[in-house]
Each structure stands twice: as C-alpha cells, then as structure tokens.
C-alpha cells in the first residue's frame, strides 16, 4: 500500500505573531516553524498503517527552503521519501491552488490512500484535503479520529460535535483528513534522523507540474486584504499587582459571587 501524506510547515504554536508591513500576512522571519499539528497526526496514521502492513509512505509539502527541515523530520519519523514543491511561483496560492499542486503530485504517484490534516494551524481554512480529493475524483472524509483498513475500503470514525462520532466506509483510493488526538505522534529517533539524511527529497517546480500560471498569488480566487489584531471589545477587567494581591482580589470577587 502506498500512502501520500501532505504536510504543511506552520509557525510554532508558541511563536509570537506580528503582522508584517503590508498587512497581508505575519512576519515569518526569525520565528520557529513546525509541522502543522493536524498533519503530524496524519503522518503518524500513515506510519502506523505501514508498521502494520508494509508499503511506502511519501510525504509532500509546498513552501520555501525552510520546509526541507520539516520534510527531514518526517523522514526521520519513518517516511520513505519526500517531495518538495519549492518555487516562488507557488507562493500566495489559495487552498484551491495548493490542492491543484498536490493533485499533480498525487496523479504521478497514484497512492492508495492520501492523508492531510483537517486544517492548518495558521489559516484554519480546512479545505485542501477535500479539494484535493475532488480534483482527483476520489472519495474523502474529514476529522478522522480513528481508521481501520479492510480489503478495498477504509473505515473511519469522524468527529462530529459534542463528542459524537460518525462511522463512514470509503472505497480506496481515498483521502482522509485527520483531527488532532487521533493518535500519539512519535518522535524522530536519533537512528531515524541519521537514516533520513540518506532518504531522497525530490524537488519540483510549478512548471514541472504543468501548472504555470494556474497557481500562486496571481491565480488565487481569495485574497487576504488585511490581517489584523482583533479589535478589543468589552474585554475583562484586568486585575494587577503581586501574585498575593491578585489572589486577594480574586477571592474577594469569588466571595461576592457567593461561592465561598
């Protein structure tokens, strides 16, 4: 079984976010990046299937040079090879543009199963997976929290709201987007990291994929006009002082509420 996992490199969850001068994205120099948390679960799900039944795990990512680091991490965790679409012509692609790039990769690879994260931690758009499946004409489901493989199908439990789950069968080839908490993500072992150095990262351009002019900022159907810190609304009354003073004030309030 061949599995393709699409991973995105996103600002680390604890990175400080400042909007850059033109107001359309964050300043991404000098901040730490990581593999999108949802995609970490996607990769883990793929590696677990490989551990159980063999096959090949191919990771794919789009982005600048720094993305190589995330691909190496994925290879260190156990992925077999990586594809990196590294081309400024892909910059500023919207979700559909990203899906088109990944669809071109998937067509060349013909995987039995494709994983993407449910959404990315930066844009929170939650569109690339289903769009990719649609472009490929294959079934998909979203927010997987567990997955079982049978002959020619996968059975997925997908998360709904309020703790409810929906069980759905998908014919392979298919695409599944993963929800956080689906599994406990492994670390890259030292041995894995050493081995990863010898694993191939295939670099592609937009033109290689036959998509010149069809992706990137110019082709995007959605433009970020402005990114900004949310305006302060009502907001909390901020209690300040030393930890002791603050504790005293909070207790006063809790008493007032009749809870002490």
């Amino acid at each position: 079984m061949k599995i393709m996992v699409c991973i995105k490199q996103v600002p680390h969850q604890d990175a400080r976010l400042d909007v850059r001068g033109d107001g359309t994205w964050i300043q991404d120099e000098n901040i730490k990046f990581e593999i999108n948390p949802y995609d970490q679960n996607a990769l883990e799900a793929a590696l677990q299937l490989k551990d159980a039944g063999g096959g090949e795990v191919v990771v794919a990512s789009i982005g600048p040079e720094r993305v190589t680091q995330s691909l190496r991490t994925a290879l260190g965790m156990g992925a077999d090879r990586a594809i990196h679409v590294k081309d400024a012509a892909a910059d500023g692609s919207d979700a559909l543009g990203v899906a088109k790039l990944l669809a071109a990769l998937a067509k060349a690879e013909s995987p039995d199963l494709i994983f993407t994260g449910f959404m990315s931690d930066d844009g929170n758009i939650a569109a690339v997976g289903p769009m990719l499946a649609t472009l490929l004409g294959i079934p998909h489901t979203t927010t997987a929290v567990s997955l079982k493989k049978e002959n020619g199908t996968v059975q997925v439990e997908r998360e709904l709201e309020g703790g409810a789950l929906e069980v759905v069968d998908l014919k392979t080839p298919c695409l599944v987007t993963t929800q956080t908490g689906m599994n406990q993500v492994r670390y890259a072992s030292l041995k894995g990291i050493m081995a990863a150095k010898k694993k191939p990262i295939d670099v592609k351009t937009v033109a290689d994929l036959g998509l010149a002019g069809q992706v990137g900022a110019g082709a995007a159907k959605v433009r970020i006009e402005k990114l900004y810190t949310p305006p302060k609304g009502q907001g909390a009354e901020i209690v300040s002082g030393s930890a002791d003073e603050v504790a005293g004030k909070l207790v006063g309030k809790i008493k007032e509420l009749g809870l002490l």
Binding site: G162, G163, E237
Partner: protein, 323 residues
C-alpha cells in the same frame, strides 16, 4: 443575476438554528446586491422542514427528499447540492461551518472552481463586491478576505450572526436527485457516553490548557484550586488529545457545553471551539500570560500572569478565606 443558495441542515429532526443564521446572511447579501435567496433541504421525510424554511425566509426551497438521503454522506449531499445548483443557478453558495460544512463545502467549491472562504463571522457588501471576515491563527488574528470573481462558496461560523426571525413567504420545489453509488457510505453515528465526571452540573469549573505541560501539573496546580472551591476540573482539547485527562473533561464544541456559576480558565488561549463550550458561564476569570489572548475578551476578570505563580496563591487564599 445568479441567486444565493444556502444549504440548510437538520439536527435531531429539526431545522438547525445555524441555517436560520444563513438566512440572515443570505438576505443581507441579497438585499444589497439584488440577488434572490434560495435554499436546499436534504433528507428523508423532511418536507415539513422545507415548508418551515420557506416561511422563515429561505425563499424558494429545493427539497431533496429521498431514502438514499436519509443519512449524511458527502457523496449523497454533493449530488443533492449539484441538483439544487443546476435548478437555482446560484453565484453564491452558503453553508454552516459544521461537520457537514467541513466535508461538503470544499468539495463543492473545488467542483465549481469557486472562490472558497470558511468559518466566517461576518460579511460586508461593498457595491457588487463581498468581503468576508474570519479568524486566522486560532483566533489570534482576524482577516478581511476578498473573493475574486464568482462563484463563491462560503461557510459561516454558527452563532456569529443572529438567526433570521422574520417571516417571508417562499415556496417549496421538489428536486429529483440521482444519488448513485458513491465512494463513501454512512455506517452509523455513535454518541460518546458520559462516564465519571459530569461538568454540565458543576457550579465551579477550574480549567487548564496545553500550557500545563503534563498530567501531573493538573493534579498539582488545577485540582487543588478546584477542590478548594468545591468545584470540578476541566480542560481544553490539547490536554485531552495528549492523554493527560480523559475526554469527559474537555470543554468545547467537541467536548462538553458547560454553564457553571464560575469558570476559571488557566493558560487557555480562548480559541472559538473552546469558547463555544463555556460561554454559558455566569462569571469567567482568565489567567494567561499573553495580554492579547482571546480569552480576555470573554472573561469578566483577567490576570495577565504566569498561572504557575497565580493559581497556587489563589488556592491558598481560597483556603484561608474558608478558614
């Protein structure tokens, strides 16, 4: 000019509130741009809901009523949506940002080669152009998004808009849908059973987030305060995902919806999915070291500081006050 089509949802046999919110959004865009509002209702034995929506502002309501549509599957709903699009020629398609929306909306957008915006909390109409407002980075930043060209597929955040409460007479048009085989098949839905803790009944909840860093910190820092206040412990999702606490402790859209007299959020950023679960709290205290954390927008009292310093002091002070 093309119309606006909203895809309604049925939840527990009733028209979902979020669908009436879509009616508000659709009518707002419709009034400003001269587009007609149309709706789609999908299911089996749901003609009553279609009639209801037609009276509640849904305009011409396409009814896809078929045994093959009894349960949700993305293929079946996609087939119904395609039929409604063929019948109603929409330029703008609206869905709710719900499990159905997550699955169906991007599929529709890709199939239509449409501009796609998701989880929007508002839309502005500037002449013929639409600008959608939504959050990025889990609520830490907001964005104005401008779709380029038509069609547009958009999902709206449930609860962000008031439901349309007027009445307006529409009509129901039955729609024939050929569902076909499809690659996805609904098997069943499962409802998580509540085990030991029932946060929905707690008067005081002290919640901790990812920043606690491990299960032992919940026992050392969060639990003593919860105990001192005679309350329960709660958590944000990453805590449960990491296995630090079982699922029944999770507050939020995919956890418990709680309504305590006092909710103390410790090291919780205030992502919308968490806020959804706790917004019924009577009084909220937030402790977070980031002064810009979204949680401070919904809290009544806020402490900008390190929870590992503040919470133990508060626990001591509560114990002292009880004598």
């Amino acid at each position: 000019m093309g119309s606006i089509l909203l895809v309604a949802e049925i939840q527990k046999g009733k028209l979902r509130e979020a669908s009436l919110e879509l009616v508000s959004v659709a009518r707002k865009i419709g009034e400003a741009t001269g587009r007609e509002v149309k709706s789609l209702v999908v299911g089996q034995g749901v003609s009553g809901i279609a009639e209801e929506l037609a009276k509640k502002g849904g305009g011409e309501v396409f009814l896809a009523d078929d045994a093959a549509l009894a349960n949700y599957s993305v293929d079946a709903y996609h087939a119904a949506a395609k039929a409604a699009i063929a019948a109603g020629s929409p330029e703008i398609v609206l869905l709710s940002n719900t499990p159905t929306g997550w699955d169906l909306a991007p599929r529709l957008a890709a199939a239509l080669d449409a501009a796609f915006v998701s989880d929007c909390f508002d839309v502005e109409v500037a002449g013929a152009e639409l600008v959608f407002l939504r959050r990025f980075f889990n609520g830490k930043l907001d964005a104005r998004l401008r779709p380029v060209g038509l069609p547009i597929v958009a999902t709206m955040q449930p609860g962000a808009t008031a439901a349309f409460s007027g009445s307006a007479d529409g009509k129901v048009t039955a729609l024939a849908v050929s569902v076909g085989e499809g690659g996805t098949r609904f098997v069943e839905t499962k409802v998580a059973e509540a085990k030991g803790v029932d946060l929905t009944k707690a008067e005081v909840i002290v919640s901790g987030g990812r920043s606690l860093g491990g299960p032992e910190k919940f026992q050392e820092v969060i639990k003593p305060l919860a105990d001192a206040l005679g309350g329960a412990m709660g958590a944000s999702r990453p805590v449960v995902d990491a296995g630090w606490l079982p699922h029944e402790y999770q507050v939020g859209s995919s956890g418990q919806i709680v309504a305590p007299k006092l909710y103390i959020a410790c090291g919780i950023s205030g992502a919308i999915q968490h806020l959804v679960g706790m917004k019924g709290s009577n009084f909220v205290i937030a402790i977070n070291k980031d002064p810009d954390a979204p949680i401070f927008e919904v809290a009544n009292l806020g402490v900008v500081g390190d929870l590992f310093e503040v919470v133990p002091k508060l626990t001591e002070a509560v114990k002292a006050a009880k004598g």
